[in-house]
Structures are given as C-alpha cells and as structure tokens.
Subunit: 414 residues, 2 copies
C-alpha cells in the first residue's frame, strides 16, 4: 500500500481532547473515523487489524469444534417476549417497521441461537453443540466512551454451547477458558486477569470475566501481585489486605473487560422448550453456556497497552502491515520502488511512504504514529543497503535486500 | 467436516410450500435457517459459500484500486436530514434510542461515506478515490420474498467513487462494468444482462443494472436472442418486435437484479459540502458514483440457476466443500477415514458422510441435495479404489487415492 495514493491520511493535530490514549491514537493514525458518539468507521489499516484479531479468535473457536454461523441482527419481538427480556434488557435498541412489525437490534443472540439449536438437537448424540459467530452487536449505551472501547455498535465473537448435562458443560467451560487464554497470549497480552463475577442481565449463575489492566478501563480490579488471584472490586464485600490464595500483597487497578463466559443453565432452553432425548429416551432441557469476546474492543485494548508517547506499537500477530518502508532518497524512488515490489512478490505486506512532498522528519513521525513493528528506511546515506529498525527500540541495523526479506519472513513466519 | 458431528442437518421433508427453488433448496440442504419473514441465519455451509462469493468480489474491488472500509449500520438522523432522505427513503428502518437520539439503519451508505471522504479529499491529487465495504444492509421491505433473494437484512458490497470531473468518473464507471462482468463470470453465470435504468431513489442520472434470467426474479426483461441488448420492460415506452441494435428476435423473461451502478453526480458532495482544490486552486465538488452487488442475493441467484430436481449443483468457484465423501462400506470406516485424513492434509476441504445409522440411499439423496461438485464414494464393491462422480452428470470413474488427490487439486487449482 502506497501512502501517496492508497493510505487514508494520518492526522497529527486534531485540536481535540480524547478520553483515552487508544481513542486518540487510532483516530490520529487513520485506523478509525468517528461518525457520532459510540459509532466509528474502520479505515483500511483498522480493518486489517480487526480481521487479524478475528482470524485468531476464529482459529481457536474452530479448535474447540464449534461451528461458525451468522445470525441476523434484526430479532423479532416475540423471541424477546418469550425470554421476558423485551422490557428488561436495558440496552436493547428497538426498531419499529412501517409494516406493523417490531424488532430488537441484537445486543446478544440467545433469542436467535436457542430456537435454531432446537431444530437440530434431537437426541443426546447431537450434543455437545457449539455455535459461534463473529459479527456486529448493537447496544443502546447511556454513555459511549473511550472510542471503540465502549461503543453503541461494535464487533463481537459470541459462542453458545449446548450440553446433555452439567458435567459436560463444566468440561466445555474449562476448555473455553484455555482457548481464551491462548487467544489473549497470541494477541500479545501478557497479563489478562480472570475474575469471577455475577452474571448481570444474562444469568443468575456464575460467570467469569477476562480483564486487561489499563487506566482507560471501567472495572475496578483487586489482584494479587504474585499469583493469579483477581476479583472485581464491586463484587467484594470486605476489603482485602492479603491475597486469600497465597498471602502476598494485594494491588488495585482499573481494567477493561475483553471477554466473558456465562453459565446459562437451562433458562433459555426452557423458554424455547428445547428438549433432547437422553439415553433412556426421556426429554431433557440442554444445559447452555455463552462465551463472548469483544473483537473491536480488543483492537482498542491492544493499543491501550501497546503505545508510547510517539504512537502505537503493534504486536506482530496483528500488525496492519509487516513492514513500513520509508524513502528518504532525494528526488529518486527507484531503489525504494524495487524494495517495495520485491517484498510484495514475497508475500510481505508493506506500507510504503513514497511521498515526495513530505519532509523526512514528518515521515518518521508518521511511521512511529502508525506503529508497524518493523521500519525499513533508505536514504542518500544507506547506499544499496536498507536500514532496519524495530518500532519497539532505537537500535538500527543495515541489511541487504535479500537479508531484509529473510528477516521479515522469520519475524512473521511467512 | 463430518456429517455425524459437525454438519447441521439437512431436511428432506418440510411440509412447506416455498416461493422459489433457491429458497427451498438452501433451507432443505442446511445452508440457511429462516428466523422470520426476510430474516435468515447462515449455517456453516451457507456461510462458507457466502465467504467465497465475497472473497471473489473483494479481489476485483482491490484490483480497481478501491480501499476496503467498514462503515457503521447506525446512521445519525442528522446525516439523513442533510440529504433530505430521512422522510423520503421509504425502506429506511428508524431506531429510537432511549437517550433522545434517533438513527437510521443503513440501507445504503452515501450518508456516511461522503462526510468520511470529505475529511480526506483536499486537492485533485487525492482523486480518484474509491471506498468500498462488504457488510450488512437493512431495508424495511413491504414484502420480503423468495428467501434470501429479497430480505429485510442482507449482505452487500457497496463501492463509492469520487472524481475530479465527469470524464474521470466515466472512465472509472466503465472499469467497474468490466470488474462486475469478471465477477459474474467467475461465479459461474453465463449470461448476465446489463440494462440501463432510472436511478430510482438514488439519483436522477443514468444507471445500469445487472440481471440474471430466472423465473424467481422480479424484473421483467426484454432482451435480444443474438446480441447483448437488454432492457427493463418497465422502462420501455413502446413494444419492441426486433432488436434495435441488431434486428434479431426479441425475447421476454423474468430476471433478478444482482448488481447496479449509479452516476450520483455531485448531489451528495453538495449536500455535505465536499470540495477539493483543482489545479488552479479553485474549490470544486467531486463527481460521485456508487456501485452495489448483493452478495447474499448472489448466493440465492447461484442456486436459482444451478440446480436440478435432486438439489443444488454448486459451481466449483464457490462450492462449500471441494468434495463430498460418502462411506457405504458396511460396519467399517477405516478406508473412508484414511481418505478423509489424506485429503484434509492436502488442503482439500471435504464433507464426509460418516454416519453409520443412515441408509446408502439416503446418503446419496443428501449428497445430491447439498450439491458439492465432486462426490467420492467407497463401498463394499470399490476395493482399494474410490468412485469419482461429478454432481453435474451420471458418469462414474474409479481412481486410486493419489489419483483422487491429483484430480481434486487440478479441479480446484489447489
């Protein structure tokens, strides 16, 4: 992608105040565009990162044996009346058709996935069943904030599982926890805190939340400095001074919730009268679980924990481009053009700053702002070599073009 | 994918009447599930085909140099007031927030993409600019019909282009026509009719529609038996007896519109006060075009023209699986399991009917219904060979496993 023709421009000055670092950086670096409070457009590099995040999530859902589906966002009102959530689910957007119909705008999909599963679950042999989708959710939030960290329309992976009994559910639930931990590790998060929480609107049963420590978050977290103990401060009834698990020091901090898992029991199975025949042929309600990951929120959370004063620092697993090529040779782009074509032909994605009217200083500022993990630079002083620099540190090294190709392929396992 | 555990079941009897062949086949074969009138869930094989269709569309949009973005579905009311379409766009769903806000639910995205482009178009050097997305659209249709051929929520590719002048727009418009023709050819359509039509709600300028001949369609088409002349019957004021282009016989038929392209002129640029500086530094409104392809409708249209009395016949370019493997060996799945694993390890996607409780006859019925282009069968009579049969004809051939791998790779260019 060439900045001169293809890249939607970065904005270094906006004159605006932002309520979070990720909000500011994603807008300035040209990854998202604000449409209205809680509503954003994804621009090409933002969409590229979002797709990479969702591909990682998809891979791990498929490894669980879950099947990908796509459920509609317009939900017939009668489905929500059946679960008695039409009036009680406070963030449900309601849509009135001209044709005397009313719809809810999917904030979650139990009302659609449960009757779908009902059509296909007949006997215990059809269980467990895991259905997931990666798509758009709508929530009529009173206060949208922090850019894509809390929007009114956002992207989410939601998995729903159906089980013959509680034991089978619990085994599956544990497998999902492991899958989530793998996803978060792959996305570059070093320290995701799992907390036990109340199920909120969804369920009275137990649930777990996955939280990333960041000041931009909305959750007050109590956690152990030494072990994996963590708890939502709201849930705690007493003030902890020592970790109840290991006795070490307790810390406090703000965090953002990036995933959650719920035990739904048979609440929705009962509402939609889903029954399967057990081994004795008796009708039984399947036990359900539901498991969310906010994929657009993850995009924000990644930036929240991976940035410095100059801009974003993308983890390699979700980088919008493999390399950012900067041409500083005066009035000559032949060598940079050659590098660009060579890398592309090797399957390496490159953001190429080929602009001639822009100063060297501004090109470097833009490169740090966008935050591609590896910067390649050619100038009047680099000769037939290329200057290689990681976004994460200041060291530079000189490589030949074949060496650049080799090192990039190693860095990204291409 | 194994039918016993992974495949959401086919339905051979529904007891229902369907208003189109594609509607019936996609439901019976387990590709889509009806939620309510005009609303469908995509099940795993349906989603697989939809993804393949959208990948083909994406490739050709990228070849045009257009940039992929993702725009929100919730549109602030003031954007639609600015274009005076809030009250006049009859299929616009309206959403009332509890927080005193009102939104339109995107039926088309001129109201979002035009102000977005305004932020990035400064001079004639920023033009032409092409922005596209592949996503969900919502339309409050009075009559949803024919399954996914006319839904209230559906998938669409919409491209918007911005130009320095009319001449540049016309050149781009012609390139989009070529891209569309390539897309339709790649999807296996042999005869897509391009017609000139009025712009409807969108524009008073000229526009073109792309139509596939099928009885399930809603467009009455007049077309030439010999050349590419075609016209929407509604637009014609006189009855044609001979083709006005070549003098040959004129035919009539029903068709479904799968794509359209519009000259928007400067209508939306003017509404949102988008200006760029021309070479003399004067402010000018960019000329806009808009280009749609209904990707979920394409899924329906493909089935509409590719089926026989037994089921769907998928074109290889969008087949949900490369091969459908049927095991008819009595009480033994060792050989079929081996073939399944071998094909998977070669990157070939296989739907494997591994069910033991189902009759041979039913397995063959299901295979024809689902319509994977190539059926592989092993039985007590095939020995260490595999019976290879195309869905399109009755001929069978016997191959060794390595030959099966080779022929599959040739058929799908893997």
């Amino acid at each position: 992608m060439k900045i001169s023709t293809d890249y939607i421009k970065t904005i270094t000055q906006t004159g605006k105040e932002f309520d979070s670092r990720s909000h500011e950086l994603l807008i300035k670096a040209g990854f998202i565009d604000p449409v209205a409070s809680g509503l954003y457009s994804y621009l090409p590099p933002g969409l590229a990162v979002l797709n990479k995040i969702e591909d990682i999530v998809r891979t791990h859902m498929n490894s669980l044996g879950a099947l990908e589906v796509s459920l509609p966002s317009l939900h017939p009102k009668d489905h929500w009346l059946q679960t008695k959530r039409w009036d009680s689910f406070d963030v449900l957007f309601k849509v009135q058709s001209r044709h005397d119909k009313e719809y809810g705008l999917g904030p979650s999909h139990e009302e659609i996935v449960t009757p779908l599963a009902a059509k296909y679950i007949q006997t215990h042999k059809d269980l467990p069943l895991g259905l997931y989708q990666i798509g758009t959710k709508f929530r009529d939030e009173a206060r949208a904030k922090s850019g894509i960290l809390r929007g009114r329309e956002f992207r989410m992976k939601d998995l729903y599982s159906f089980h013959a009994d509680n034991l089978d559910f619990e085994e599956y639930y544990k497998k999902v926890i492991v899958a989530y931990q793998k996803i978060f590790t792959e996305l570059g998060f070093e320290d995701v805190k799992m907390t036990e929480a109340s199920g909120g609107d969804f369920t009275k049963k137990f649930s777990h939340e996955f939280n990333v420590l960041t000041e931009a978050g909305e959750v007050d977290l109590i956690y152990c400095a030494a072990c994996d103990f963590a708890q939502n401060a709201e849930v705690l009834t007493t003030k902890l001074t020592k970790c109840p698990k290991c006795g070490e020091e307790i810390k406090e901090g703000r965090a953002i919730e990036i995933g959650n898992i719920f035990d739904l029991g048979t609440r929705f199975s009962d509402d939609f009268k889903v029954k399967f025949k057990d081994e004795q042929g008796r009708p039984v309600s399947p036990h359900m679980g539901c498991y969310g990951i906010g994929t657009s929120r993850l995009l924000g959370a990644i930036v929240e924990v991976n940035n410095d004063k100059n801009g974003i620092i993308w983890p390699t697993s979700v980088a919008p481009f493999h390399a950012h090529l900067v041409n500083l040779v005066r009035d000559d782009s032949k060598f940079a053009d050659l590098i660009y074509r060579t890398l592309q032909s090797e399957g390496i994605s490159v953001l190429y700053d080929d602009r001639s009217e822009v100063s060297a200083g501004e090109k470097l500022v833009v490169s740090d702002l966008i935050g591609v993990p590896i910067r390649l630079l050619v100038s009047d002083r680099t000769g037939d070599q290329v200057e290689w620099k990681l976004r994460i540190d200041e060291k530079t090294r000189m490589f030949s073009v074949p060496e650049v190709v080799k090192h990039l392929k190693d860095a990204y396992v291409i």
